[in-house]
Amino acid sequence: MSQKPKSRGRAGAQAERGSGGEEAPSTSRGPGGAASQGGRRAEAPPTPGPRSQKQLELKVAELVQFLLIKDQRKIPIRRTDILRHVVGDYRDVLPELLQRAAERLEYVFGYRLVELEPRSNTYILVNTLEPVEEDAEMRGDQGTPTTGLLMIVLGLIFMKGNSIKETEVWDFLRRLGVHPTKKHLIFGDPKKLITEDFVRQRYLEYRRIPHTDPVDYELQWGPRTNLETSKMKVLKFVAKVHNQDPKDWPAQYCEALAEEEARARPQTGGTAPTPAPSS
């Protein structure tokens, strides 16, 4: 039978309701509770005094949940969203909260909290565990597309020298039966996926090429791609698709190797989970 949650959890919730204990991001108005109308913190203390370990622990827990939910949609998480939806009057200890949340995320779930680009104040979760083919069968959702349309486009971009025109992408994809204007059985709306969804998720960058008529766009790898995968991994994917060896493309192979070596050297910031010092 289902376990009854013990009183500790409930007491904690009651104590925290004043400071916006209903943590759910964006749309929630705290159902059933009158306290958090319009997301305002009704009983904010005049000056934030020293907080108990328990209160901090609860805040870290909310922050971890928030980050996990946001990342499951592959939405990069902005610092301002964190402040607005979770941290609220605990903003003075935001660096500590982020540090503790990052530690828990990595130890418990195997996700590293990483800044998308230096000083962008936007974060994503990078998986420290290598995805395995059989994971796909075990999932309840789509997961990060390790094969499929995104990988194909990433491969195209890399093989063409890290940048490709949108028209060239469709020339290629049409041969696979994927059209910008036709609904696809598996991918649905490929044009929306490539030029909107993947861009929003920061897997791709999509920029207009000036002085082109008709207008053309260029596609490049986005910051999330650089964090989640590597040139070598993508090259191996392309090689596998062609049933060849990565070394059959010497220029790309050299480039991929160079990237691996650069990454192996000790980093100076960049992927550190700690937030920017000025909060």
Partner: protein, 266 residues
């Protein structure tokens, strides 16, 4: 929670992969949870003996304690299947739904929930739910749209639909039992045997006590003359079978060997 007597467990990549994949499911049946566990061992620690599921999960829960979440085990109300879900302990609201649904959709769920709790059978008809569409908070919703939203609830395993009527999915009960008991203390029904929240079940026609179907099955197992535990009157309902995972497995094997957990509904 169990408190300080429980020793803090240790997370390894086996546990992490398990948690990551478990989180992609809102709720998972025990057999699939065991498959998932075996998969994670296979990836990271081929030679180790697979720990008993209950201990494995208790270990993870002792680590999750500081994050106010836990892997909770429950039982489906209709046929007694063990299910698992990762639930929030610190909040007493329907917050997990809040990130997936708009304000008016959440209010529709709340209305459906109230009808379900107030009903005698644990089911609320589609018609009755849709008639409340005008009373919803937030953006105005038409009945047609509300029908779609109800289907979304079914797909996401918050509600179950049977012949045009809706009841709570085991997932919703696992996640929201505390919230429901606190918010509707007078309307809530409770099982005489296990004392947990009861939405669907059987009741004694003489004294009115209620029992979950799987609780009935266990309580009256191999009892040829079932009698009400409270008033001793003859129990008038059909006694269901106790859920047998072995029988399930045999049936499953004859159907197909490799069944994917992948749900194609999202």
């Amino acid at each position: 929670m169990q408190g300080s007597t429980r020793r803090m467990g240790i997370m390894t990549d086996v546990h992490r992969r398990f948690l990551q994949l478990l989180m992609t499911h809102g709720v998972l049946e025990e057999w699939d949870v065991q498959r998932l566990q075996k998969h994670c061992y296979k990836v990271h620690d081929r030679n180790a003996t697979v720990e008993k599921l209950e201990d494995f999960i208790n270990n993870i829960n002792s680590v999750l304690e500081s994050l106010y979440i836990e892997i909770k085990k429950g039982v489906t109300e209709d046929d007694g299947r063990p299910i698992y879900a990762l639930v929030n302990l610190a909040t007493t609201s329907i917050s997990k739904m809040a990130s997936d649904f708009a304000e008016n959709e959440l209010d529709l769920f709340r209305k459906a929930l109230e009808l379900i709790i107030d009903s005698e059978t644990g089911f609320a008809s589609s018609t009755n739910i849709l008639n409340l569409v005008d009373q919803l908070k937030g953006k105005k919703m038409r009945k047609k749209e509300a029908e779609h939203v109800l289907q979304k609830f079914v797909q996401n395993k918050w509600l179950i639909e049977k012949e045009g009527e809706f009841t709570l999915h085991g997932r919703a009960i696992l996640e929201m039992e505390q919230y429901i008991r606190e918010t509707y203390p007078d309307a809530v029904k409770v099982c005489t045997i296990c004392h947990s929240l009861l939405i669907q079940g059987q009741s004694c026609e003489t004294c009115g006590i209620r029992m979950h179907l799987p609780c009935v099955a266990k309580y009256f197992q191999s009892n040829s003359e079932p009698r009400c535990p409270h008033c001793n009157d003859y129990w008038p309902h059909e006694i269901p079978e106790v859920f047998d995972p072995e029988k399930e497995r045999e049936a499953g094997i004859s159907k197909s060997n490799k069944r994917s957990l992948r749900s194609r509904q999202h």
